[in-house]
């Protein structure tokens, strides 16, 4: 039995370019109270730190009636990379210009006298899914969040796999075509350059520009440049041929990518989250069906391909998961 003090909470913090969210998370991964404050993305490092501490203060000093019983035992922070999870330093995220090689974990630990862990969004969310979410009970988990970018995290034997410098698990930048479209990262043919939200929109606009008819045109008020990936889901729902074509091609591209991951990692489960993954949910059966053609692993069809448990709260749960071992 755990002693009394073990039944505490961990505080998960999700730092984004425009907001900081924080929440108290229990040992079952349940988020009890949470808050959201604006992020001082521009400005000096201290301003960025103040945004983080005000979210922490808000969520940890709520009125006693709102506060769940138990002590806060650690703080886990996730934020956009690149960062060094081992040293707890933010390196130079484009979306967080306030920090450049900044020891965020140490600064927060100094203020609250608590253990503090730091990792990137996708790694943190992968760990939350492995520990408490759609991967609960699995040893080896591959997690992907498909949205504005494609972030991935690898959990092996229940622990985040970081590699030599903490830069492992960048599956969104696995190239499936070395001569493919240029990715924002500089590489060619990364799956992010095919299947992220902006990439879906780009592929759709290219097709429209070549003169294809589509329900997407009225949706975008006949301005091709205004077409977004979200509209694809809507147009597909309304029976649009072009939208179906783009999404079906995306299924094939994702299968080529996931097949590579299966052949390398043979995971216990593949978990997909993020806005594009939600939009692709009607195609999940198709991905499961086609994946074996893209993997030499003869038992790939046994690997569950499931939707993430945490949605918008993935960052809070992820931050908390980074230090969940202290309340186990």
């Amino acid at each position: 039995m755990a002693e009394h003090g073990m039944n505490g909470f961990v505080l998960g913090v999700d730092v984004g370019g425009t907001k900081v969210a924080a929440g108290l998370v229990d040992r079952q991964g349940k988020i009890h109270v949470q808050t959201r404050t604006p992020m001082a993305a521009v400005g000096d490092p201290a301003a960025g730190l103040r945004a983080v501490t005000s979210a922490i203060d808000l969520v940890s000093r709520r009125s006693p009636s709102e506060q769940p019983q138990g002590t806060i035992r650690a703080i886990g922070i996730c934020c956009p990379g690149p960062l060094d999870p081992i040293a707890g330093r933010v390196i130079n995220p484009p979306n967080l210009p306030c920090w450049r090689d900044y020891p965020l974990a140490a600064e927060v630990a100094d203020i609250y006298h608590l253990p503090v862990k730091l990792d990137n969004d996708a790694n943190a969310a992968a760990l939350a899914e492995a520990r408490w979410g759609a991967g609960r009970g699995s040893k080896n988990v591959f997690y992907a969040t498909i949205g504005t970018g494609i972030g991935t995290g690898i959990v092996l034997e229940g622990k985040l796999y970081h590699g030599r410098t903490g830069a492992a698990g960048e599956g969104g930048h696995l190239s499936i075509d070395y001569r493919g479209p240029r990715c924002g990262c500089g590489k060619a043919g990364c799956i992010e350059a095919y299947a992220s939200g902006p990439a879906l929109a780009r592929r759709t606009r290219e097709r429209l520009a070549s003169g294809r008819a589509s329900k997407l045109l009225p949706l975008a008020k006949w301005r091709i440049e205004a077409v977004t990936s979200e509209m694809l889901g809507e147009a597909y729902g309304a029976g649009d041929r072009l939208a179906a074509e783009i999404l079906e091609e995306t299924v094939e591209l994702l299968c080529a990518w996931l097949g590579n991951l299966v052949d390398l990692l043979d995971p216990d489960v593949i978990i997909m989250g993020g806005g594009v993954a939600v939009m692709l949910q009607p195609f999940l059966g198709k991905i499961r069906q086609q994946l074996p053609q893209w993997a030499i692993n003869s038992r790939s069809r046994e690997i569950p391909l499931v939707m993430a448990h945490y949605g918008a709260d993935a960052g809070i749960a992820g931050g908390a998961a980074l230090c969940s071992d202290v309340i186990e």
Copy 2:
């Protein structure tokens, strides 16, 4: 200090389509005595087993003068896949038609009353390199043997990474072009379909068939279909333009592939072995130089890219490495 009995040997067995090699290996990974016998690749399972046991008997019952001091404490066998390293079963290797879902490890253990481990060639060689060879002292190792095929193995925290079913680490079948040339495995654009020996020969023959002049033509006695990958090295050494072109393209293809592996695994070291890797040795500097363009990992240039320590003996060392923990 290890007790007397700990200073023993492990017996490594390398089962191939036409021969079985076996050797005694000490705790430093040194191969002391070794032997080689023909493999009864065709015929019944018992004939295959007899070929293995005769190699084991030959190497373990040498005359006392030849025999190193110490006891054989375990037997490790590597053979072509697919196989199940967890259950110790050979599944259905095309090159070993004598065995179909055959419990090789259990059969050998029954005969010698010793612990027996089984794994595929590339995994076993990866472990030998990590433990005793070019990756000694590294925690996370990516190993590739580039020859008739491309076999790879992943060692994490000093142990082989097997994944859910033992089918992980098939890096040779990572596709770098989902619309690329068909691989023997059925997938498209696997690095094996670009950079294995037969793939190099195919790419060269295509260029020759389109009318390119080359020193390869006299080497192959003007029969394009007789061009082999080995001739490429020879022609390159003699200053042939086409050979240089093919090998330089191969550098780029390997960089695209290794960049993916670096972004996913961020290993401590990358080790390359096999005939094609040896032929590409003059290009090792170029690969090191170009790899950072194919990885988003900002510290990829720090990752050592080195040649394998074990050459033709990789199978014996690999087999031994599978059970080297018993003599540690």
